[in-house]
């Protein structure tokens, strides 16, 4: 069964304290892995798409990487406004684009 597992469930950082969020996946024939940011009560906001092992994407303080078994979201020198839940999702199933999400990592960055 296709699975997406994120860790840790929650992470508290001080402003400027860099860290990484993990997303491990068990998916037959990965066709795409996505990172989203979600603020409470709002829709997930697209961050990155990764398609193949070794691929990296960067945006401001965020960098996403992909291996054959997992993806990492690196947060460099985070700010309080980076506080949110970060969701990882993979395309699963026989269709083109059914997304299976992980449970998310709730990140809190304190000033």
């Amino acid at each position: 069964e296709d699975q997406v597992t994120q860790s840790p469930e929650a992470l508290r950082l001080q402003e400027g304290e860099s860290s990484s969020l993990n997303c491990s996946y068990t998916v037959s024939g990965l066709r795409g892995l996505f990172w989203y940011r979600q603020d409470p009560g709002k829709g997930p906001e697209f961050l990155f798409t990764l398609y193949s092992a070794g691929e990296e994407k960067e945006k401001e303080r965020l960098k996403a990487t992909l291996t054959k078994k997992e993806s990492f979201l690196h947060i460099t020198a985070p700010k309080p406004e980076d506080s949110a839940t970060y969701l990882c999702a993979a395309i699963t199933g026989p269709g083109y684009s059914t997304l299976t999400f992980g449970k998310g990592t709730m990140l809190l960055v304190s000033p």
């Binding site: 009560g41 059914t98 999400f101």
Partner: protein, 112 residues
Amino acid sequence: AAGVIQSPRHLIKEKRETATLKCYPIPRHDTVYWYQQGPGQDPQFLISFYEKMQSDKGSIPDRFSAQQFSDYHSELNMSSLELGDSALYFCASNPTPWGEQFFGPGTRLTVL
């Protein structure tokens, strides 16, 4: 930039009532997805449409139905509502049935 529009944003219904949620995708996006997100849960895929035809089906209850219209907007119809249907319902769209999906702000459904 235009985003996915969902209406209504909030909806309160009684048990056994019917609800209709609407989704207007980003212009020129012909694929629409529906997700349900319970409190503290990750989004669960319900159903998707590509070019007005159902493309994928997830954990959508038989009490729910959906369709995509000629202008590409989509509606999710929910009947015989149960307390457990209370959740955030998100619509997402993309210009092709693969690649990143762009989510709307959601409809918060409360069933009393």
